[in-house]
Amino acid sequence: MILTVDGICMKFKEKVILDNVNLSVEKGEVVSIVGPNGCGKSTLLKILSRNLSPQKGNVCLHGKSIKHMKPKDLAKKLAFLPQSRSVSSDFSVETLVSYGRYPHLGFSNRLKAMDLEIVDWAMDKTRVLELRNRTVNTLSGGEAQRTWIAMALAQRPDILLLDEPTTFLDISFQLEVMELIKELNQTLGLTIIMVLHDINQAVRYSHKIYALKNSTISHHGHAHQILSHQFLSGVFNIDADIFTDDKNNCPYIIPQRVKKL
């Protein structure tokens, strides 16, 4: 197991956000966390990336708790792409990607030849090499997302955490980003954990799915086998038809109606 989560509990004031959440991820897996709005998926991802610390429970990376790891050591193993982020509009793509090397830099904070090579490699993998001198405010949504993924890649992490990587992108960029994630997983063996809204994307692109409902994991299992009428009504409160996508060899759904409570 590359990452295990044991009995995470999280409360904000009196409101329970997460209650005894467990999950485990193997090396090289793509894992999606799905669930309705407000179920705590983003909170869970923030706990995994240590942007929040849980009141109870443990997150272990390679069997070691992340609680007392040094920030830079954690950043070398785990990259997190948050949804909320900002960047000064006149930074170039290359500058932004080079920040991914920050946890690896020594006291002088200077990029060495090897760091520059890795920055180039990361831009090449995410196909933003041609954009390296463009400023980030001139990029399209998809290009910007690939640039941020390049920055995460330049950290050379074992695990990549993505918070809703396709939200706010139009459909071609969504496809582009999901294909890139798949490619990174297959060619680099990168372990990927992401929060997704689109159940069809989650099913098509992940190995395993965890569904959060009422602050806890209600279902989990193999992505291609988890879909059922009972799952969809239980987690998302919808009636849907389930079909099979022969080309990609995976199921997909068409939602039909919201169930009355």
Binding site: P71, F80, P82, E94, Y102, P103, N133
Partner: protein, 347 residues
């Protein structure tokens, strides 16, 4: 084929990359040149005009002339104080705009002006015999006000917006006390007005000697933090992900901004405006990358205060206008001009 393509990309990248770098270095050199110009302008202009050649002789060769007396004892220290004050205030503003991710951030929102002001007023109005404690009192007042704002804004960490709002509230609370003092002791207000407006008249070597240790310490640490501040501007979560201690870095930077602005204010009084406008002007000229923005801000800050102080001395000579007034009168239109030009894409 593959290699050729790669080589091509490399050389293209390198040429363009160095072009951008050269442009930024050229801007820095140009600013340094301007700074030197304003330095010479400031030393040679005054009640008695002295040519640049005579300035050189008066500083390095002759020791017993009138020129030497004027330059060495009056103009040079004042100009150096002006330069240091400009550097401190504008760097402080540049740091805060980055840390708070807010373009309106300036030293006064972390309580530097109100804290230093109240402390100076208390000493000057209630304990006038201890007037010589005003600089150190103002300095301590500035740091205390910052600390108070930081503690009030703390709630599982600092959120920039909350800190700005706490800053506004604390500043107006402290200003209320300043105003009360002014109303209850109207006869003693006259001596204090100079401190409120900020000015450089009669500043000389002792002031410089008080200022430079804090200033150089602050400037040196600021430059060490340029990359961290760049990463901090990406957002708390992104910075945390890259291995930055977000809260610790933010606390250090806020303390640094307070130290820089506090030491400047303790020597020249409440000089507003520099800390807000100079960093923005530098940003318009050279971009947001703090590795270039810090030096550009420092040089431009020194230039601005030195130049404006010279104008303030000579324009209605022998009457001196407080430098803050000149700075707002000249600087604000210039800044607005830059904003408009930038929109048309000239810069």
């Amino acid at each position: 084929m593959e290699t050729a393509k790669k080589l091509n990309v490399w050389s293209l990248k390198n040429s363009k990359f160095s072009l951008i770098l050269n442009r930024k270095l050229a801007i820095l050199f140009f600013l340094a040149f301007l700074c030197l110009g304003s330095l010479l302008f400031s030393i040679s202009k005054g009640a008695l005009d002295i040519t640049v050649g005579e300035v050189y002789r008066a500083i390095f060769i002759e020791r017993n002339t009138v020129n030497h007396q004027i330059i060495w004892n009056v103009r040079l220290p004042r100009t150096l104080v002006a330069g240091l004050v400009g550097i401190c205030l504008s760097l402080s503003g540049a740091i805060l705009q980055g840390v708070m991710r807010n373009p309106l951030a300036a030293p006064n929102i972390i309580g530097v002006s109100s804290g230093a002001g109240l402390m100076a007023y208390i000493i000057m109005i209630l304990f006038p015999s201890y007037y010589y404690l005003v600089p150190i009192g103002a300095f301590v007042g500035a740091l205390l006000a910052t600390l108070l704002i930081y503690l009030l804004a703390w709630k599982d960490g600092i959120q920039p917006t909350r800190m700005i709002l706490a800053g506004v509230a604390v500043s107006s609370f402290l200003s209320a006390w300043i105003n009360s003092l002014m109303i209850f002791f109207p006869d003693r207000v006259v001596g204090v007005i100079g401190f409120m407006v900020g000015g450089l008249s009669t500043r000389t070597w002792p002031h410089f000697n008080v200022l430079w240790p804090y200033a150089s310490l602050g400037i040196a640490i600021t430059f060490l933090f340029s990359k961290k501040l760049n990463i901090l501007t990406l957002g708390d979560e992104a910075a945390n992900n890259l291995g930055i201690h977000v809260e610790r870095t933010r606390l250090i930077l806020i303390a640094l901004a307070s130290l820089l602005a506090g030491s400047a204010v303790s020597v020249v009084g409440l000089l507003g405006f520099v800390g807000l406008i100079v960093p923005h002007t530098a940003r318009l000229l050279i971009g947001s990358d703090y590795r270039y923005l810090f030096p550009a801000t420092a040089i431009l800050g020194a230039t601005t205060v030195i130049f404006c102080d010279t104008i303030a001395r000579v324009i209605l000579s022998p009457i001196e206008i407080p430098v803050g007034i000149i700075m707002s009168l000249l600087g604000a239109p210039f800044f607005l001009y830059l904003l408009r030009e930038r929109r048309r894409g000239i810069l």
